[in-house]
C-alpha cells in the first residue's frame, strides 16, 4: 500500500504540471472566441486541484521511486492522463459518452490517431487544438519514457538505441544525466515542430490547421481537423511537407539531437536503424505506386506515386493520416502498409510498433542461426552499425516479439468473440497496438471507431495503451512477481 501511495504522490505532482497544458487550448479559445473558454478553465482547475489534493494527502509517503514504482507510475500516468484529458470534451460535447471520450483521449496521448468523432470541421477550435496537443505531448512522452524508464527494463529503449549508434559519438554527446538528455530531446522536438508548423503555413494551411497538423505530424499521431483528413486540402505541396516531417519523426530523436548538436549529418551514416526505416518506407512507396499503376487504379504513374507516397509514409511511420480512401485499393496494398507500419518506425522516434531495431535484431539472429548450422565452432556476435548487441538484448527482443504477437492474436480473438468480422477486428487491433489509427473494413480510413460497441472500444483502448508502452511495462503489472516483496 505504501508503494501505491508513493506513486500517488508523484502522480499528483505530474497532474499539477500537466494542467499547464490547458493553456494552449485556452489561448486558442480566447483567440477564436469559440465559447469553450470557461469549460477549459474549469478543466484546468479540476486537474490542478485533483493533483494538488493527491499530492498533499500523500505527502507523508514521499520517497525515492524504485524500479517497481517506475512501472506503476508510468502506467498510472498513462491511464490517468486520458481521464483528465476527457474533461473538456465531456463538458463541451454533452452527447459524447465517457467510453468514447476516453478512447479519443487515449488515442491522442498514445499518438494512435483513431477517432470516434465525426464533424471535426465543426468542432470548436479549442477542442481540436486540445486533441492535437495531446498527441504532441504523447509523442514526446514516449521519447522521455524510452530514455528515462526503459533501460531499467533491459528491453528496447536505451540499450537498443545505444546499440544502433556506434562508438564514442553517442556517449560523448548524449548527456550523462537522463534529465538533461530528456530536456535536450524535448528542445529538438519543439524546434522541429515549429519548423513544421511554419512549413505547413507556407504550404497553404491556415494558422490553426498548420499548428494542429504540426502537432500531429511530429507526434506521428494522425488526428486531423477535418473529417476527410488530409484529403480535405487536396494539395500535393502540403502532402509533401507532411511526408518529409513524418519521415523525420520516424527516425530516432537521439540522432537528430546529435546531428543538431554536432552540426553534422554524419550521424545518420552511423544510424543503421534510420537507414533501414527510411529505406523500407521509400521502397514501399515506389512498390505500391507501381502496383496501383499496374492495376489501373490510377492512370498516371505520378498520381499513383503521390497517393501511394503519402498514405504509405503515413501508415508506415505509424501516424495515420489519409489523403484518400486506401481501403478501396486492392487488398495487397493496404495490408502491406499495415505490415510496414508494424516494423518500420525507429526506436526513440515518436512512432509505434515493433520498431525497426528489433526487426533488425531478429533478422540478424536468423542469419546467425544459419551460420551456426554451417560452422558449429563459429563465434559470431550480433553487430549493428559496428557495435555488438549482447545476447541478453537478443533474448529480451525475442520475449518482446512473443508478447507482441500473443497480444495481437488474443485481442483479435476477443474482438471476434464480440462479433466483429475478421478483417476489421484484426486491422483494428493492429492499428491500435501499433498506434497508426485507421484500420481496414469497418474501421477503415473512410470510417471511424464510432461503429464499435462500448466493449470493443475498451478493448481497443487497452490495445493502444499496451502498444504504446511496449507491452512489458503494462503486462509486468499483471505478474505475481511484481507484487511480491
Amino acid at each position: 500500500m505504501r508503494r501505491a501511495l508513493t506513486v500517488f504522490h508523484a502522480l499528483g505532482l505530474v497532474l499539477m504540471v500537466f494542467s499547464i497544458a490547458y493553456l494552449v487550448p485556452i489561448a486558442a479559445s480566447y483567440i477564436y472566441d469559440d465559447g469553450a473558454l470557461i469549460d477549459f478553465l474549469m478543466a484546468m482547475a479540476w486537474t490542478f486541484f485533483v493533483g494538488l489534493f493527491m499530492w498533499l494527502l500523500t505527502r507523508k509517503y514521499k520517497g525515492e521511486l524504485s524500479i517497481r514504482h517506475g512501472y506503476l507510475l508510468v502506467v498510472g500516468m498513462w491511464t490517468a492522463m486520458p481521464v483528465v484529458a476527457t474533461l473538456p470534451m465531456l463538458l463541451m460535447l454533452p452527447e459524447l459518452s465517457f467510453t468514447d471520450a476516453y478512447f479519443e483521449a487515449m488515442s491522442a496521448v498514445t499518438t494512435t490517431g483513431a477517432t470516434v468523432l465525426t464533424g471535426l470541421d465543426a468542432l470548436p477550435p479549442a477542442i481540436n487544438v486540445w486533441r492535437h496537443e495531446m498527441e504532441w505531448l504523447g509523442g514526446l512522452g514516449i521519447i522521455v519514457l524510452a530514455v528515462a524508464i526503459l533501460p531499467l527494463l533491459g528491453i528496447g529503449g536505451r540499450q537498443l538505441f545505444k546499440a544502433e549508434m556506434p562508438g564514442p559519438m553517442k556517449d560523448a554527446a548524449l548527456t550523462p544525466r537522463i534529465a538533461d538528455t530528456a530536456r535536450n530531446l524535448w528542445v529538438v522536438y519543439a524546434v522541429m515542430t515549429v519548423i513544421c508548423a511554419l512549413s505547413l503555413k507556407w504550404a497553404g494551411m491556415g494558422w490553426l490547421d498548420a499548428v494542429c497538423h504540426a502537432f500531429s505530424t511530429m507526434g506521428l499521431g494522425g488526428f486531423s481537423t477535418h473529417d476527410a483528413s488530409i484529403g480535405y486540402f487536396n494539395s500535393p505541396l502540403i502532402e509533401f511537407v507532411m511526408v518529409v516531417f513524418m519521415l523525420v519523426a520516424a527516425v530516432n530523436f537521439a540522432s537528430h539531437f546529435l546531428a543538431w548538436h554536432g552540426k553534422t549529418l554524419k550521424v545518420y551514416l552511423y544510424d543503421k536503424e534510420a537507414q533501414a526505416t527510411l529505406g523500407l518506407i521509400l521502397v514501399s512507396c515506389f512498390g505500391i505506386a507501381s502496383f496501383l499503376w499496374w492495376n489501373d487504379i490510377y492512370s498516371e504513374f505520378s498520381t499513383a506515386l503521390r497517393y501511394a507516397t503519402f498514405n504509405v509514409v503515413s501508415i508506415g511511420a505509424s501516424s495515420g493520416f489519409a489523403s484518400t480512401d486506401y481501403g478501396q485499393w486492392p487488398i495487397f496494398a493496404p495490408l502491406w502498409m499495415l505490415f510496414v507500419g508494424c516494423i518500420a518506425a525507429s526506436s526513440g522516434s515518436t512512432g509505434g510498433g515493433i520498431k525497426m531495431i528489433r526487426t533488425m535484431v531478429l533478422f540478424k539472429q536468423a542469419g546467425r542461426e544459419f551460420v551456426k548450422l554451417l560452422h558449429p565452432a563459429v563465434v559470431d556476435p550480433m553487430k549493428i552499425g559496428g557495435r555488438v548487441v549482447t545476447n541478453n538484448i537478443v533474448f529480451s527482443v525475442l520475449g518482446f516479439i512473443f508478447l507482441y504477437f500473443m497480444t495481437i492474436a488474443t485481442l483479435t480473438f476477443v474482438l471476434l468473440i464480440s462479433g466483429m468480422d475478421f478483417i476489421s477486428a484484426f486491422s483494428a487491433v493492429l492499428a491500435c497496438v501499433n498506434n497508426f489509427g485507421p484500420g481496414l473494413g469497418a474501421v477503415g480510413p473512410a470510417s471511424t471507431y464510432a461503429v464499435l460497441s462500448d466493449f470493443q472500444t475498451w478493448v481497443c483502448t487497452f490495445a493502444m495503451l499496451v502498444g504504446r508502452l511496449e507491452i512489458f511495462t503494462v503486462l509486468i503489472l499483471f505478474t505475481p512477481h511484481f507484487w511480491r516483496r
Partner: protein
C-alpha cells in the same frame, strides 16, 4: 657502440644476439632475472634485473654513457617513459621504442622532442603482418622484401620445373624479357650459395634471389615457375597480435577464417573484425579443420605464440590439403628443420623484424636492413654520400668498386628512378644503393665502403 636494451623478450634477446656479434657493448634490463640469466649464459653481455622505467635502474645499467637506448619491453608505456627519461635526464643520443598500440601510432606528435622523445618507433607485429600479407599477395615467393619505400623489391623464389628459365643459363633472362630489367643477386642450391656468372644454369629446386622494380616482380617470377591460382581463402590459427592484424589487413580482399582457442579472445576478435569468420577451437584439431574445409584453403597461417602448435597445425593443414602453409616459428633451430619439409614457409619473427632495428645501429647511412636465411645473409639499402675523393663508391662504376666477394650491388634508386645495376652503372651522390650480402661477416666491409672518409675534409 654502447647499447642499452630494455626488455629481454623475443625482440630484445634477438636484437641482443645480433648486436653482440657485431662487437657492441650491450646491457639488457628486464624484470625477469631468470630470462636474463639464460641470456647471459649464451651471450657476452651485461644484464640487470629491475623496472626499466625507473631512473635508478637505468642509471645502474649505465645509461649515462650509452649511445643508444632500445626500449623493447612488452609495455608501450614503459618504453615511452624510458625514452622520455633517457632524453631529459641523461641526454642519450638515439632512442628507439617499440610501440604496439595503434592508438599511439596514429598520433605521431606524441613521439616528438616536446613529448616522449622517441626518435624511432618500431612495431614488430606490424612488420611481421606486412611481411605475411606480401607473401599472400605474391603466393609464389618465399620472401618479398621492399626497399626505397617499396620501389624496389628483393624476391626469393624457388625455381620449379616448367618455368621458362629452369634448365637454362641466367643470360637467357635478357632475351626472354628484353623490356624488363632484373638482377639475380644469389642462387642457393641445397643451402649453398653458388658462384654465379651469366652461364650459371638454374635448376629446379634452387632458391633464386632477384632484385627488380616492384611492378616487375610478377613477370620475373613467371620465368622461374608457373603462376599459382590467385589466393582467395585464407585460414589463420591464433588470434593474438599478429593474427588479429593480419585478419584485419586481409578480410576485405580474401575470405578469412580465424581459429582462436580462447573464448574470451574469440569474442573480442569477433566484435572487432567485420568480414572474418571467427571460430572458437583448437588449431591442431583436425576435425575442426575438416569441418571448415581445410582442403579448399589456399593459404594456411599458423600464428600462435607456441612453436610446436604452429608446426603441428601447419603439418595437419598440409596433410588435410591446404595449398600453402606458413608457420611462425621462433626457435631458429626449428626454422631450419622445417623450411625444407612440408611447411612451405617457416617464418622467424625475430629475423623478419630485426632488420628494422639493425638499420639504426649500423654505421654509415643505412636506410633498410633485411635479414635473410636465418641471419646468415643480409640485404641492405645504403645511401652514398660524398664525392669521388671522399667516398669509395660515389663517382665510380659498379665494376670499379672494391666490394668483397659474395656482395652484389643489385639496384640503385635515384630520386624516383629505379636503375638495375650492371657492371658499368655509375653511382652518384645520394643514390640509394641496394646491396645483397650472402655472408653476414662481410656487412662491416660494405658499411665501411659507404662511409665518407673524413680525412679529406
Amino acid at each position: 657502440m654502447k647499447i642499452l636494451i630494455l626488455g629481454a623478450g623475443q625482440v630484445g634477446s634477438t636484437v641482443a644476439e645480433s648486436l653482440v656479434s657485431e662487437a657492441n657493448d650491450i646491457t639488457v634490463v628486464d624484470f625477469d632475472g631468470e630470462k636474463l640469466r639464460q641470456l647471459q649464459d649464451r651471450l657476452d653481455l651485461r644484464t640487470l634485473a629491475g623496472n626499466a622505467a625507473h631512473p635508478a635502474v637505468l642509471e645502474q645499467a649505465g645509461i649515462a654513457d650509452a649511445d643508444m637506448l632500445l626500449a623493447v619491453t612488452q609495455s608501450d608505456e614503459v618504453n615511452l617513459v624510458a625514452c622520455k627519461l633517457a632524453a631529459s635526464l641523461y641526454n642519450t643520443p638515439t632512442r628507439i621504442a617499440r610501440i604496439r598500440s595503434a592508438d599511439y601510432l596514429e598520433r605521431p606528435e606524441i613521439f616528438n622532442e616536446d613529448n616522449f622523445c622517441v626518435d624511432f618507433s618500431i612495431c614488430p607485429e606490424q612488420i611481421l603482418t606486412d611481411h605475411i600479407a606480401r607473401l599472400i599477395e605474391f603466393p609464389e615467393a618465399l620472401q618479398v622484401l621492399e626497399f626505397a619505400a617499396g620501389k624496389v623489391s628483393l624476391v626469393a623464389v624457388r625455381a620449379v620445373e616448367g618455368g621458362p628459365l629452369v634448365g637454362r643459363p641466367l643470360r637467357a633472362l635478357r632475351t626472354d624479357m628484353p623490356k624488363i630489367d632484373t638482377r639475380v643477386a644469389a642462387i642457393f642450391r641445397q643451402d649453398h650459395s653458388l658462384n654465379m656468372s651469366g652461364d650459371t644454369v638454374v635448376e629446379a629446386g634452387d632458391d633464386v634471389f632477384f632484385i627488380a622494380a616492384t611492378e616487375h616482380i610478377r613477370a620475373v617470377m613467371l620465368e622461374l615457375r608457373h603462376m599459382d591460382k590467385p589466393i582467395r581463402r585464407v585460414m589463420i590459427v591464433g588470434g593474438g597480435n599478429i593474427g588479429r592484424r593480419l585478419a584485419r589487413a586481409l578480410e576485405n580482399n580474401y575470405q578469412v577464417k580465424l581459429i582462436e582457442y580462447s573464448k574470451k579472445v574469440s569474442a573480442s576478435l569477433a566484435a572487432e573484425l567485420t568480414n572474418t569468420l571467427i571460430l572458437n577451437g583448437d588449431g591442431t584439431d583436425e576435425k575442426l579443420m575438416q569441418q571448415e574445409h581445410i582442403s579448399d584453403v589456399d593459404v594456411f597461417c599458423a600464428l600462435t605464440n607456441d612453436d610446436e602448435n604452429n608446426i603441428m597445425s601447419s603439418l595437419l593443414a598440409k596433410q588435410g590439403g591446404a595449398h600453402k602453409v606458413i608457420a611462425l616459428i621462433n626457435r631458429s633451430a626449428y626454422v631450419g628443420l622445417m623450411q625444407r619439409g612440408n611447411i612451405d614457409i617457416a617464418l622467424s619473427p625475430a629475423q623478419v623484424t630485426i632488420g628494422s632495428l639493425l638499420a639504426y645501429v649500423r654505421q654509415g647511412d643505412v636506410e633498410v636492413v633485411h635479414s635473410l636465411r636465418r641471419g646468415a645473409a643480409e640485404a641492405l639499402e645504403l645511401v652514398a654520400h660524398g664525392d669521388r675523393k671522399s667516398s669509395k663508391v660515389v663517382g665510380r662504376r659498379v665494376e670499379e668498386i672494391d666490394a668483397p666477394k659474395g656482395a652484389t650491388i643489385g639496384a640503385i634508386v635515384r630520386g624516383e628512378q629505379v636503375i638495375i645495376a650492371h657492371h658499368d652503372t655509375l653511382i652518384e651522390e645520394d643514390d640509394h644503393v641496394i646491396v645483397f650480402v650472402n655472408d653476414k661477416r662481410m656487412v662491416r666491409k660494405i658499411e665501411n665502403l659507404f662511409q665518407v672518409n673524413l680525412g679529406f675534409f
